[in-house]
């Protein structure tokens, strides 16, 4: 499809800068980021293209296609980018912009709800059983006590994350699988 480069979203790049992708302008399309990206060959997440799309203001091309959520945040691109353009930071910024538009994948919602309700990214009950099995000392972290969980809820509530991550009061964990941790 032919892409007309006029009337694109000129604010996108400024927004990306504001949301953490401060050096996106430095990108000169060398491809170092994409060449070492672990997901590039298996997904639609093409980080060099994303950098370029930001600079061109092609927001639908990025935000509607969800590819930015396929980044494993391995920071390889950021580490090796010869211009320190911070591609991973740009991914984070784009995710933030995308979340504001209500676009957010299930796993993120699941993990956030776990943390909000249990104090941890994974379910706690299963953990307590496992601890008994291997003679581990009693749990002392947030998951051990409601008062700590309330603390976490209180501070999360004073940010926008509850809304952005679709945190629900009536939430029940889906299962004991570990979805995300880093």
């Amino acid at each position: 499809m032919k892409i007309v480069l006029n009337n694109t979203n000129k604010e996108l790049v400024n927004k990306v800068i504001e949301y953490g992708g401060k050096r996106v302008y430095e990108c000169f399309q060398c491809g170092m980021c994409a060449s070492g990206c672990p997901v590039a060959s298996d997904t639609d997440h093409k980080i060099k293209r994303t950098m370029h799309q930001v600079l061109l203001g092609l927001d639908e091309q990025i935000l509607d296609k969800k590819a930015i959520w396929l980044c494993t945040t391995c920071f390889m691109c950021l580490e090796r980018c010869p211009q320190n353009a911070g591609p991973t930071e740009v991914v984070f910024a784009l995710r933030r912009i995308s979340a504001e538009k209500g676009i957010i994948p299930e796993a993120q919602i699941e993990v956030a709800n776990n943390i909000y309700h249990l104090g941890h990214a994974v379910t706690v009950q299963k953990g307590i059983k496992l601890r008994e099995k291997v003679d581990a000392p009693p749990l002392t972290t947030a998951g051990a006590n409601k008062k700590y969980i309330h603390e976490i809820q209180k501070i999360v509530d004073s940010t926008h994350a509850g809304l952005l991550l679709k945190i629900r009061k009536d939430w029940k964990p889906k299962g004991d699988d570990v979805i995300a941790c880093d």
């Binding site: 997901v39 994974v122 501070i155």
Partner: protein
């Protein structure tokens, strides 16, 4: 702030205490044998990870990290993180809050509501740094009873121990050596394999969002590891551990032949010190008994 190399606030995170408590045991017990005291951080929550909170709003990640850091501050101890993700995000937050007054003030307004305060008085270390830089290879060598002669290990550093290096400063990001040195201190050979520094494919929400992709990335990683025919994979991150352990099972369920034993470093260290397998290395989906029998002679 005391920079006492024998006292640390142990930040266990989520996966270790709730899915691999045997790893937690291995850390507590080996550290104690090495003369290092670790103290529980009461009420510590998720670090939190980059995949969720950081991905939607910087402040929401920052306040949770700051809460965890403030717990260690109240103990007057530096943090020892035992997970790469925890290390990366806690250290990153600590750096950010130390240098950015405006963010620090914002964060403290929020923490104030729960009676906590971030002051910027402590440092964050990774277990690998504590073992290698603070305790030292010699001491570790001396502490072991059983040498793993002839065993070959594929070391996986994991992304968030190394990168972004200008924040983490734990290792040379392109040629790390500390975990290799620690592995070799046990008498094993740390073997070369291609793309050693590449991602295991778990992070950023990938495991949850895209089970297929996560396994494909893992498979590539494992193919490279297989190239050097190691006896085991060693890592110092529970999420990487989980990815290798459960991921190999996932690949086996699809009929593929991946069954390399996976260890968290302190599990091997503990076994070499003569600690019992049941407490420190008994939870895994990918069998390790063969390795333990062969090299430690225990069932």
């Amino acid at each position: 702030m005391s920079l006492h190399a024998t006292d640390y606030a142990l930040y266990t995170g989520c996966i270790i205490p709730l899915r691999y408590p045997d790893i937690e045991n291995s850390i507590r017990e080996t550290m104690s044998l090495l003369g290092v005291n670790v103290y529980d951080m009461l009420g510590a929550g998720c670090c939190p990870p980059g995949g969720a909170f950081w991905s939607v709003e910087e402040m929401s990640g920052l306040v949770q990290s700051a809460r965890n850091l403030s717990i260690a501050e109240s103990m007057s101890k530096d943090v020892m993180a035992v997970c790469n993700g925890c290390f990366c995000y806690l250290k990153n937050s600590n750096m950010l809050l130390k240098s950015d007054q405006e963010k620090r003030e914002k964060v403290n307004t929020v923490l104030n509501k729960i009676g906590r305060k971030y002051q910027g008085t402590i440092s964050v270390y990774h277990l690998v740094e504590v073992l290698h830089d603070h305790i030292g290879i010699e001491k570790i060598k001396q502490s072991t009873k059983i040498k793993l002669d002839g065993a070959k290990a594929a070391v996986h550093y994991g992304c968030h121990l190394l990168r972004p290096s200008d924040h983490l400063m734990a290792e040379n990001p392109e040629k790390p050596h500390k975990l290799d040195a620690l592995v070799e201190a046990l008498g094993m050979e740390s073997v070369y394999y291609p793309k050693k520094l590449s991602c295991c494919g778990a992070g950023g929400g990938m495991r949850g969002n895209n089970p297929d992709v996560t396994l494909r990335i893992l498979e590539k990683k494992l193919m490279n590891i297989k190239y050097s025919e190691p006896d085991c994979i060693v890592t110092a991150c529970p999420f990487c551990f989980l990815q290798f352990d459960l991921g190999q099972k996932g690949l086996r369920d699809r009929g593929e032949d991946f069954c390399i034993p996976v260890f968290y470093y302190n599990q091997l260290l503990g076994l070499s010190m003569g600690l019992p397998k049941k407490r420190i290395a008994s939870l895994s989906e990918t069998p390790r008994d063969g390795f333990i029998k062969k090299f430690y002679g225990v069932d």
